[in-house]
Structures are given as structure tokens and as C-alpha cells.
Symmetry: C2
Subunit: 359 residues, 2 copies
DNA sequence: GTTAGCACTCCCAATCTTTGAGTGCTAACG
DNA sequence: CGTTAGCACTCAAAGATTGGGAGTGCTAAC
């Protein structure tokens, strides 16, 4: 697959410049233009030979005889691998994001929206952020508050903030029973994750029922509620912004082409599948055919995984044409990933004294 | 303005058929086509005379000599006024919506999303729903629950469900103080609206501070929180779906034209301004120039105001080309409005016994 | 290995032509 | 007087033709 080693130093340089120029101007690469633009001492004939060789090797392709050449996916891939570590961020725009991180007591769901908005603004590409599911969240405490007829609110405190959901109790409970039930549940499930709690409930159902004795009533409702909550977050924790910015690019002047991508950007479920993956690396580009989706054959997706305290919290995706500004995107994503790394979830919610909780 | 009275019965019929046909086929109306399609006994020459007259009167216009005619805004307006009461709903699709209304304990914010999704699916046009602000909501009770360090959760029960927001207390309070504070606040503000409560707090600040004595501490935070909450709902209570469906229409085959409308559909703030108005009527169409927005000169917006117990709860907007299927849209909107009318908010939240609240 | 030179390819834009759908007008008809 | 057949006129849209020019590949000379 990777035969970039076969490339002479000169070929590498030519290919790099060719792709770079194409990304900037969207004009097919020609030997003549390269002579006049770059500071090369080579003649156009020599460049033609080299470009021809690069085409044979699959890095470039011609649209027709006597047209300039355009990068193939392989060509873009070479380019991306080369610039991997050089980024060119719009510092000014990104600094605004920094402020957001420093705003305390911002809900994480809010946070990703603000970030997606800003990233899309700075990069000028559609941006998607998905929040990880809640199943890996640690439970800090559980509270139950009676509401109007036969309902109660279940509150679960987690390092990522407060989860809340209404319980359908089918029976009235008073303030005190609810309070006690919450305390019992907290004692039982504290410092498990939501996922573990569900698993635990499902596996040791009877056992726990006995253990919780008089609060067993709540128990069924809590389980149902947790499952509903998990599904809901799966569905809601995804946000996208700036879809129409795609239309600015010359590759989407044709409505037919744009339609596919735009409707994909409207479908949260598909977006989630697209953005999430288990890759370990912080930032990755997937180019054109590499995406294995006809609708996206002319797109590149840049993905980044944001971690707080080492835990995967959110995934950011930037969707653009293959001809996207890789260095800029790379810079923006690196910035976001770093900001997340520096952040402590508890701080996000205004708790500067970790571990100093009370219940 | 309205000189539809001047139209002979025959002209009305011709104009109606002309617009109807144009809406269906997007082909300019020609005398020849009208003869072959409709069961008229008139000759094409006579129709030409009539069409010419209708053009003089401003209902139709020609794109150029020797082309067929196209409806003007005035022509569409005539058409809409004529079909006002005939609707042609996709009953099957809409019945699915009915089920949603019957699902209890669905959050109103969730409800509008599901409805927008379905309406967009059934009509095949972008659909926007905005939820009214929270300021007119009646307060049923206020609860305060202590959370982790120096924070508490404020819960306000309203007929539209539970509002919640985190309070930054800057000081720890125990379970009991919070509980008591909630009770005091409830007694003071119960059955006011959120708006009245804010107003009240702002006007009689000192007075209330004295009255609440030991819970005065909470008071400032509650005020701030309420204001924040009001703003937040203003921003969040709007949802749109199906923007890309616009691209199916021949009038948006040109990216430049589509871009404007699509980016408008992405901007929640603009959408809100567009959808909300104070008009009393349940369903209204605003056509092309009537919208007073260049970007929308080729669009029609259908708006409906949904009321529960007489109170304006949500506004639905359907955006399409001027050539939209008015009868179908009208049917769909009427259905939604009626469903809302039949709904009791308390029932939505699972309370079948109204007034049977406890605190 | 590099490059000047040249034949060759083929897109693109401009121009022109043709076609035909559709109109407006007029004169005749019942 | 409303209706209609007939005809001249208009004009967009779709081909056909053309020339220009940008770009290539190849070859032969450096």
C-alpha cells in the first residue's frame, strides 16, 4: 500500500507542491503553472516527465488528455502524511473557544454546541460533535425528588454533570421516602458507572430487590428510566453546524452532488456512525474512497477524539471537500483536543475542590 | 388590493386551473396545454384572450414573449384564498403523529421535535417548530436540591413540565435549608407566571428580601437563574428538520439560489423571527414578496399557531417554493393544530387528575 | 538527465442556424 | 358581441461549426 518510499526526494517535492497548489486554487496542476509559481529551476518539460511518472504511480490523474492533473486519493494521502505535524491554526478565532472552556458551570451538552459553532466558523466547514454515551460515567450520587401526581425526578450526579429523568411511579411517595430511596440507591451504586449499574441491576435483580427491601418499589422505575436515558443520550448527544458552508466550495456547485452530503449532515444517526470510531489516535483524516461511501467520495472527514482525564468524551468531525485546507483543520482540531486535555470535568461544573462532595 | 371581485366566474376558473397545473407540473401555463388538459369547451384562442386579460390584471406574468405564463404572487394569493378550506391531508402519515400526542410523559421539547420530523416527512418540505417562551408559564411549585460543592438544582414545576437549572450558590447549604427555601419560594410565587415572578422580583426587590428573611440568600441566585433560563429557552425552543428536501424542487437546482434559503434554515435566531408572529389566525400562508425578504422571494411559508387550552404553545412553519402543494400543507397543519387543541398539557405529562398536586 | 521544439489532443467559448412552441392580432363566423 | 381559425411574429433552447489556446507526449539534441 505505502510505496511513498519509492518516491525520489524531487518527486516528493513536486507532488507536495502540486497538491498544495490544487488545494489552494482548485485548478488542475499543469507543468507550466508550476514553473511560474514555484521557485524550481526545472523546465516545464522535466516537470511533465515527473508529473507523468507520478500519474503512473497513481498519485495524480488527468481528466482528459491535454488537461492538467488532479490529485488522487493516494495523492492527498501523501500530502496529509507529509504535513501531519505542521498546522496553521487561526489563533484569533480559536482563542474565543478557550474562553468557553473557562466558563464554569456550562453543561457539557452546551459546551459541544458552542465548540462546534466556533470550529465551523473558524474553519468554514461543516462541523459535527458527538458526545460519548453516558454508560461509562461514574455515579457520584442519586437523588429522587417527588413531583406532581405519581411522578418523581431522578437526579444522578456524575463528573460530567447532572443527569435527570422523570420516573413514572404509578403511586405517590412523599418527600421523605424519595429522599431515603435516593440515599439507599446512592450507597448501593456510588462509584459504579451507569453502565455497570444497569448491568448490575439486570444480573442481580432479585438479590438487589431484597437488599433494597422497602425501596424496591422505586427500583423497577429507576431501571427503566436508566435505559431510556441511555438511549436518549445516544440520540441527542450529537450536534452539527454549518452544513451549508459546503456549498461555498466549487465541487458542490452541482445540486445533485451537494444533496447527498447535505442530507447526510441532517441525519443524526448516520452522522454518529460516521464520526465515531475506536481509533486511538487523536486526529485522523479519511479521504474520499477511504470513507467507503459513494455519497462521500468527494469528501474528506477530519476526526478528533477529545479526552478529559484520559477518558474519551467527545468526537469532533469536520467535513469538507477532498481539497480541504488540511493544515488549518489540523491546527484547529489539535487546539480543541489540547483544550479538552487541559480541562478537568469537575472544574467545568464549578467544583474546584475535587472530592469535596457531600450528600 | 383585493380586486378578485372583478374577476368573472370564467376567469376565476381559468386562473385557478392555471395555477393548479403550474403547481403540479412546474411548466409555464400555455393556452394549448389548457385546452388539452382541462375539459373546457373553449378554444385556445379564447383562452389566450383570457390569459392575456389575467396578465393585465397582475395574476400571471410571462417570462418572455412567446413563453407560457407563470403565476405572480397575486396569482398564488388568489389560489390560496380559493382553496382556503379544502385540504387534502395524508391521513396515514399524520396518524403516526397522533400516536405521539397520546404518549404520556413526553417532554414538550421532545414533542415538537417528533412532530417536526413527521410533518417534514409527510409534506416533503422543511419544517420548523418554535416553542413559545417560558415567561407565560404558570408556576406550580419550586424546589431546590443541593448538589455538589456550592451548587444546587432549582426545579420549577409548570403545566408544561419541569424547568430545571443549576444555581451557583457560592456557599454550601444543607438538604433541609434548600427544602425550606423551596417551600418559601413556592408559597410566595405559586400560580404566578415565570414572567410575573421575574417582574415581581425586580420591582419589589427589597420588600421580598425582607419577607423571605433567612432564605434571602437563595433569592439573588434564583433571579439570575430565572433570567438565564428564560434566555436559554428562547434560544433552544426552536427546531427544524428536512432543509435539504428543498433541493428536490426544480426552483432550487441552482446552488446560489438554494444557498440563501438553506443557510437561513440553519440559523435558529432568524428562523424564530420568521416563524413567530402575533397573527391570530390558526393557519396562514405568506407568499414570495409578501415575506419582504429577498432571500425568500421564491418561497412560501405556511405558519400555524398551536394552542393548548387556548394558550399559544408552539408555532409550526413549513417552508417551500411558491409552487408548494398548498392543499396538502394546509391539511397537515390543520391536523396538527387540531391535535394540539385536543391536548391537555397536564395529560401530556401523565397527570390525568388535574389539580391533584401535592407539595 | 535535461530541455527545446513540435505535433497532437481536446476543452471551451463564441457564433450562427434551426427548430418549434407559443403568443398577439385580425378577420370571419354564428 | 363573444368566439375562433389562421397567420405572422418572437424568442428560448438545442445543435452545428468554428477557432483558439492550453496542455500534453514525444523526440532529438545538448
Amino acid at each position: 500500500m505505502n510505496d511513498e518510499i519509492d518516491l525520489s526526494q524531487r518527486k516528493k517535492q513536486i507532488l507536495f507542491q502540486a497538491v498544495e497548489d490544487y488545494i489552494e486554487n482548485a485548478n488542475p496542476i499543469t507543468s507550466g503553472a508550476m514553473v511560474s509559481k514555484s521557485e524550481t529551476t526545472l523546465s516545464s518539460a522535466t516537470l511533465r516527465n515527473e508529473l507523468n511518472a507520478l500519474e503512473q504511480m497513481g498519485y495524480l490523474k488527468q481528466l482528459h488528455t491535454s488537461s492538467g492533473r488532479v490529485p488522487t486519493t493516494k495523492g492527498y494521502r501523501f500530502f496529509v502524511n507529509t504535513i501531519k505535524d505542521s498546522c496553521r491554526a487561526d489563533i484569533e478565532g480559536l482563542l474565543k473557544i478557550k474562553n468557553v472552556f473557562e466558563t464554569r458551570t456550562i453543561n457539557l451538552t452546551e459546551l459541544i454546541k458552542v465548540i462546534a459553532d466556533k470550529v465551523s466558523e473558524v474553519t468554514d466547514y461543516p462541523t459535527v460533535i458527538s458526545l460519548g454515551g453516558i454508560d461509562k460515567l461514574e455515579i457520584l450520587s442519586i437523588k429522587i425528588i417527588p413531583l406532581m401526581t405519581e411522578q418523581a425526578l431522578m437526579l444522578i450526579e456524575t463528573p460530567r454533570g447532572l443527569l435527570n429523568n422523570t420516573l413514572e411511579l404509578k403511586q405517590n411517595f412523599d418527600e421523605q421516602s424519595c429522599f431515603d430511596a435516593g440515599r439507599v440507591l446512592t450507597n448501593k451504586f456510588k462509584s459504579m458507572t451507569i453502565g455497570q449499574m444497569i448491568e448490575n441491576i439486570e444480573n442481580k435483580h432479585q438479590e438487589i430487590l431484597n437488599e433494597l427491601s422497602e425501596y424496591a418499589n422505586f427500583f423497577e422505575y429507576v431501571l427503566q428510566s436508566l435505559i431510556k436515558l441511555t438511549k436518549q443520550y445516544e440520540k441527542e448527544g450529537i450536534y452539527s453546524k454549518g452544513a451549508t458552508k459546503l456549498l461555498k466550495n466549487p465541487e458542490y456547485q452541482n445540486v445533485e452532488q451537494a444533496k447527498d452530503v447535505l442530507s447526510l449532515l441532517e441525519d443524526k444517526e448516520e452522522l454518529r456512525n460516521l464520526i465515531e470510531d475506536d481509533s486511538d489516535c487523536d486526529i485522523a483524516f479519511t479521504i474520499g474512497d477511504e470513507l467507503n461511501d459513494n455519497r462521500l467520495s468527494e469528501c474528506t472527514i477530519a476526526k478528533a477524539h477529545c479526552k478529559i482525564n484520559g477518558e474519551n468524551i467527545a468526537s469532533v468531525g469536520i467535513i469538507g471537500p477532498k481539497r480541504m485546507d488540511y493544515a488549518k483543520i489540523s491546527g484547529a482540531l489539535k487546539f480543541i483536543v489540547d483544550e479538552f486535555k487541559k480541562t478537568d470535568l469537575l472544574e467545568l461544573h464549578g467544583n474546584n475542590k475535587k472530592g469535596d462532595k457531600y450528600d
